[in-house]
């Protein structure tokens, strides 16, 4: 309040009253925003305050405010907690694997789909390809479990045809991660390709004509016209993806994993979930989550800053 008054005093009288008149005239616009802002304050800003229990010995009886501070004990514990370190390692490992294997897939999908002449075929394959995107991981897990099931699954059927024994893939430490990667690709490939297909559609046809005049064949055009044209978009998407490297796929893993594969599949988010909401160590789990959020924010903001500098238009 004080600062507003001071500002009003230092500004030229006319300008201030003009702004004030404008605000009064537009007061119903502020009124419109009021309820959304109150809702946002309650459900987003109050939990930000709740994060301070990461620095306290939280007891629900005393509440967030009155619980005693504990001198960063949770954070000290964090870095000697084997389970956390394992989760951190798994998070980065799974995420990097997804970036290396899943990230390029939609780009290849888009470039290849663009080579198909029939508009109808294109449309139908594209529509089919992003159907799984609209399903939750709860639903898709039910399907994944059936596909890999030792009792009914098609994959184990093929294995038994060749004389092998059925494998319980989802309880197997070596096969669980590949399943995560493949099913993630299966779900998001078509959806991820949309943005690249739109970019390809906006390429100037003159570029292709010029390349043809120079005697470029189809592969030459794909590699020397299409690919460079979508490269700026690829770079933006790549930096954004790197910015969320600590999100290894909470929904997917929480619905697919089981104790037998915790060793390779437990990520930070699932660890927060179990230690916080299943074992009720609210304060410690909040500390784990806070650590992840802080690192995540730094990564995302840097990603945005890099994009802003490189392309002169950031994401926001």
């Amino acid at each position: 309040m004080q600062t507003t008054l001071e500002r009003i005093k230092t500004k030229p009288q006319r300008q201030v009253s003009e702004k004030w008149v404008r605000m009064k005239k537009m007061k119903s616009l502020y009124f419109m925003m009021l309820i959304p802002m109150v809702m946002l304050f309650i459900f987003n800003y109050i939990p930000m305050y709740g994060v301070i229990i990461a620095f306290k010995n939280f007891s629900p009886g005393l509440g967030i405010m009155d619980s005693p501070w504990n001198n960063f004990e949770h954070f000290k514990r964090l870095f000697s907690d084997f389970l956390f370190l394992r989760a951190f390692q798994n998070t980065v490992f799974i995420s990097l694997l997804k970036i290396i294997i899943v990230f390029p897939a939609p780009i290849i999908f888009a470039i290849l789909l663009n080579e198909i002449k029939s508009e109808k075929f294109k449309k139908v394959s594209q529509s089919i390809s992003y159907l799984p995107h609209f399903m939750s991981w709860v639903i898709l897990s039910a399907m994944v479990i059936e596909v890999f099931s030792p009792q009914r699954g098609i994959i184990n059927y093929v294995i038994t045809i060749f004389g092998g024994d059925p494998i319980n893939f989802l309880s197997d430490k070596t096969s669980f991660i590949p399943i995560l990667i493949l099913t993630d690709m299966w779900k998001e490939l078509g959806w991820g390709a949309i943005i690249y297909l739109a970019t390809i559609a906006s390429i100037d046809p003159g570029l292709y004509e010029a390349a043809e005049m120079d005697g470029a064949g189809r592969f030459h055009k794909m590699i020397h016209v299409t690919l460079p044209s979508i490269m700026p978009m690829v770079i933006i998407m790549f930096i954004l993806r790197l910015g969320s490297v600590l999100n290894a796929g909470f929904d997917q893993i929480l619905n697919l994993y089981n104790p037998l594969v915790y060793e390779v599949a437990d990520i930070i988010d699932t660890y927060v979930y179990r230690s916080g909401l299943e074992q009720f160590q609210f304060d410690y789990a909040t500390a784990v989550g806070l650590f992840k959020n802080v690192v995540g924010i730094v990564l995302i903001l840097s990603a945005n800053a890099i994009i802003r500098r490189k392309s002169e238009h950031g994401i926001w």
Partner: protein, 296 residues
Amino acid sequence: MEVKTRKKISLFNILNITGFVLFSILVIYPFWQTIVLSFSDAESASSLGVNLWPDQWITDAYKFMFSNDNIGIAYLNTIIRTVAGTFLIVSFTILAAYPLSKKELPYRNVFTIFFLIAMFFSGGMIPDYLLIKNLGLIDNSLSLILPSAVNVFFIIIMRNYFMTIDKGLEESALIDGANYFTILTKIIIPVSKPVIATVALWAAVYHWNEWFHALVYIQDDSKTVLQIVVRDMLTAMDLSNNQNAQVGGGGMASSELLLSNVRAATVMISIGPIVLIYPFVQKYFIKGIMIGSLKG
């Protein structure tokens, strides 16, 4: 030389088209398998094989499912939640996006930042849970629709769209003495139907699919949603999976039915609405991405 390149190209075409056909089959197969399983009996469902067609179409799994009170209630809850939640999201998105789209609004940037901060920072899983608990919203259906009612991403998309609307109409209405609420309902909303439809569809799919809040905030079976019913069956399945011998109903289903049959049927009814409207509305989803990628 000529002939050679043409041959190469057509080979590429064949491979490319085959590739996309195979990929489409790969995408559809798990869905088809679920349909077949939901109409199969326990015997054919417990044998390994490529089940592309049931031995006979049996609706027992669906009958069992609909005789189970919990599933019916969960379906109803999901519908109510989706309708109410979508209505809230769309209303709040419009109410916040319209003022934020006005360049001449004093302190607009301050308000924009207030919204943007919430997009980048959050308390996280546990503080969210404690808030809901302190508000007394555990086992209250409001906990499923209130925390997600303000979606900053949607607000930005809609604000960007509003900013492209021609100011002329609005200004003449203002001169005629109309207030901003009238302008919003009579001028802005009618010309923004495409973006409102897009946001509404996104919100509806979100609420239909959302399961984590329901998992954490709702314990009461009479308030649960379909996704949680399916999820509970996943965990039940896991247990029987570990003891390879008994895949049987485990108390969930009658003896001739496997849990898997019932689960497949439940999956079918929970994805049914999405799959049915999908061919008609998918272009709006795509439109949403395109509007969203406009720089504001």
